[in-house]
Every structure is written in structure tokens, then in C-alpha cells.
């Protein structure tokens, strides 16, 4: 079995050998494997036969054998054509493999997204998730803490990586965060626990950025912590935008990470937008970045609007900015709104 076997079913190999044979005045030309087994063309038994090696990565994978009357250049030419076909077949197989891996990764990601939002009294949620073709690894989640609807956790996260490894880590991180939020009293402590598990127990070289908010449904008190993630944006009903800043490094990179925890209160009519860098790093056809300033201005203009309106406005603006350019990174948005009284 050699790499050449994969080409045998290809009709163009037979035509190539037939053409070469015709060019050599009907002389016999064939291809054999390194053990001498005939793979294609006609067998040449002459001791004076011309032999030209077919190599791939410096290894002889076959020989072009021609009768004495075949010009040496011609058998070399046939060998070259076979080498080019082998390299081409390999590139194609690699592309198919990468495409398949990305597709599996996307399926895992899609399966991780919440199917519905919790039915929290007075609160509305909206989300957008648009996976990129090449790069993946975004996640969002909304769930009641310990299954009770008095507190709702919001998570958005971005794994630095793509394909199956990123999707598997994402599934892992989602479960770890969910368990940590249910068991730790505070978001910062939940991030600290997840970081410790990723650093000490997991065999992944990838990192995760995350923003974690826990909302008290009755009072609107929000406790939050960040791990190297873009600050969520609060749109106050009065028309002001406030980034929710908090210190905390990426998850999975540093053994001794500490995370700052902060609080804010969402009044009726206020909304918070969580997003990943797929939004701010979106590029126009002229290669400009969408950027944080443009997002701040847009969210500022949407103060007092419902969650769904804000999510759609951002999606529309990023899509318009991007024009025909293919999205390079996942585009993920999660908006929560405390409904006006």
C-alpha cells in the first residue's frame, strides 16, 4: 500500500500513461510500487528498462518504468505529474479534514447554547450568536442560580482557539462555571475556582476570557466579575452608558489569579449588553476595526430601548460596517433588560 494507490481510481492516470506511451511511439510505460508490483499502465519486463522514481517527502513511493525507447525526459515528466497529483490530493484531504473538524466544533458549540431564557419576573433577555467559518469558541449562558428564579446568572465567554479542542474546552468551561456559580456565593469566587481547575487539572493550552453577572431579580442588584473580558455595557434609561469594569486575568493562564468583584444596580428601563471581541474586532472592507467607541456610541443611542431592539441594532450596525467582508471571528451578544415599571 502506497500513497499512489489513492490515485489509481483516477481516470486521468490512465490517460497520462496512454499519452506518454503514444508520445514514445507506442512503447510500454507503467507505474510500479517500490516492491515491483504493477499499479497502472503496462508491465515492462526488459532489464534495460528506464526507471524514474516518484517521491513524496523524500520517500520513494513508486517508479515509472518505460521501455528502452522511451526518452528519459518523458518518464521523468510522468513521475513529476504523479508527484504533483499526490501533493494536490494530500492538500485536498487536509482541507476536507479541517472543514469536517470545524463543522463538528460548530455543532458542539450550537448544542451548548441555551434553548430558552429563564422566566424571571420583570426581566427580558435577547441574544445573537453568529459563528465564523474559521475561528470559534464563543459561549453564552443564562440560568437561575441553584435553579431558583430569585437570582439569574449571565455568562459570556470566549476560548482562544478553534475547532474541536476549543469546542470541547467550551463545554468543559460551561459546566465548570455553572457548577461554580451554584456553589460559590460570589462571581469572583466562581471565576477563581474555574481558573484553578483549568490551570491545575486540565490538559489544555487554550485560554478563556469570561464575564460573569449575577442578578438579584427583585432588587436589580448586579454582582459581577471579569476574566480578561471586554467590560459589559450598561445602558441607563436616562441615556448614559457605563462600562462594567473589574480587574481579573484570563482563565487558565496564571496559577495565582485573583478576581475583583463589583456591584451595580439596574433600575427599571436599564439594560446590560455583554459581548465578545468578534463585535469590536469586526472589520470593514477597508480593514478598519468596528471598535469599542462605535459600540459605546451605538449602545448610548439605544438607552431605554428593549433588549431585543438593542441586540438587533448592534447586529445590524456590525453587519453594515462589515459589508461583504467574511466574518473572521464569532459574533456573540447577550442583552438583559430590567423592564420599565
Amino acid at each position: 500500500m502506497t500513497q499512489l494507490d489513492d490515485l489509481l481510481a483516477d481516470a486521468s492516470l490512465a490517460s497520462l500513461l496512454a499519452l506518454a506511451s503514444a508520445a514514445a511511439g507506442g512503447a510500454d510505460i507503467g507505474v510500479i510500487d517500490p516492491e515491483g508490483r504493477l499499479l497502472a499502465g503496462r508491465e515492462v519486463r526488459s532489464v534495460a528498462a528506464r526507471r524514474s522514481p516518484v517521491t513524496l517527502d523524500g520517500e520513494v513511493v513508486g517508479l515509472v518504468v518505460g521501455e528502452e525507447s522511451v526518452a528519459p525526459e518523458l518518464s521523468v515528466l510522468v513521475g513529476c505529474a504523479l508527484e504533483m497529483a499526490l501533493v494536490g490530493a494530500r492538500v485536498q484531504a487536509e482541507r476536507a479534514r479541517v472543514g469536517q473538524e470545524l463543522a463538528i466544533g460548530r455543532r458542539i458549540q450550537a448544542a451548548l447554547l441555551p434553548r430558552r431564557f429563564p422566566d424571571a419576573d420583570g426581566w427580558t433577555f435577547a441574544a445573537r450568536y453568529e459563528p465564523a467559518r474559521e475561528v470559534g469558541g464563543d459561549l453564552f449562558d443564562v440560568f437561575p442560580v441553584r435553579g431558583a428564579l430569585d437570582r439569574i446568572a449571565l455568562v459570556i465567554a470566549d476560548v482562544t482557539g478553534k475547532g474541536i479542542p476549543a469546542a470541547v474546552l467550551m463545554a468543559d468551561v460551561k459546566a465548570l462555571l455553572h457548577a461554580a456559580i451554584d456553589n460559590a456565593e460570589a462571581p469572583a469566587e466562581a471565576l477563581r475556582r474555574v481558573n484553578a481547575v483549568l490551570v491545575h487539572e486540565r490538559q489544555s493550552p487554550l485560554f478563556v476570557t469570561a464575564a460573569l453577572l449575577v442578578i438579584d431579580v427583585a432588587t436589580g442588584l448586579v454582582r459581577y466579575a471579569l476574566a480578561g473580558h471586554e467590560p459589559p455595557l450598561v445602558a441607563r434609561r436616562a441615556g448614559r452608558v457605563e462600562p462594567l469594569e473589574a480587574d481579573g486575568p484570563i482563565l487558565g493562564a496564571f496559577a495565582d489569579s485573583a478576581f475583583e468583584e463589583r456591584e451595580t444596580v439596574l433600575e427599571p428601563g436599564d439594560a446590560v449588553t455583554l459581548y465578545t471581541d468578534g463585535i469590536t474586532d469586526a472589520r470593514s472592507p477597508a480593514r478598519d476595526f468596528y471598535g469599542e467607541d462605535r459600540l459605546l456610541a451605538l449602545v448610548g443611542g439605544a438607552c431605554g430601548r428593549p433588549a431585543e431592539t438593542i441586540a438587533q441594532a448592534i447586529t445590524d450596525d456590525v453587519t453594515a460596517f462589515r459589508g461583504e467582508a467574511e466574518p473572521f471571528d464569532d459574533l456573540t451578544l447577550l442583552v438583559v433588560e430590567r423592564r420599565p415599571a
Binding site: T160, F207, P249, A253, A255, F289
Partner: protein, 134 residues
Amino acid sequence: MNTTIDRVSPEVAVLALDGELDASNYRELITTGSSLYADGARSLILDLSNLAYMSSSGIVALHSLALIFRGQLPPDPEAGWAAIHAVSADTAAGEAADQVRLVNPTPAIDSVLERTGLRRILPVYPDRNAAIAG
């Protein structure tokens, strides 16, 4: 992205990055750093003056370079769960951790370094001479 190597001494290499560091080229940067380390360099100065953009893959590359220049095994960023984890890559051990130094990042890149926590393991200097002097 273009890289220019300036070997100021057998132990010190300055690597200037020009363009954009992202998923398409971050592994090359890790490879370049690995070869400099294998060639005897023990201090790496990354001049970011002309680096216009750095995606999250750039974070992986910088973190990997910090590990490589501490003599720890280079992680393979795409080997997934089979790879060696980049554990304890911080100053917790109490030793000086400035084998890799950064020069003059743009404000946007500097804020990513700050936000992700990378500045804790990669000190930032205003210019090359200050970085070489340490």
C-alpha cells in the same frame, strides 16, 4: 506580519513585529522565539512599536514565549487536550520573570495586555534601550 531580528548579544535578541498578529501567524511567532532560545538567546525583547493589531491568538503566542524563555516546555497551541499545560506561568514563585520584555505597544494593544493579565508576566518598556537595560 513581518518580523525583524536584531541580535544585540548572544544572550539578547530584539524581535520587531510589524503588521498584525492573529490566528494566521501566531504559531510562526512562537517558532521564531523557540529557535532564538535554542540558539542561546535568554532575553527576548519584543518591539511592538509597529504592531497595529493583536487578536486573542496573540495572547497565546506571548504567553508561550514567556514560558519558552523560562526554559519550560513550549506548549503546542493547537494540540488540544494532549498538550502540556502552561501551569504556574506567573510570578508566584517569587523569581524575577522578565526574560521576555515588551516595547512600546499601541494603547489598544496595551489595554489588551492589561485586561488579560499578561502585563504581570511581560513587563512593558517605552523604548528598546530601556527594555535592554531592564
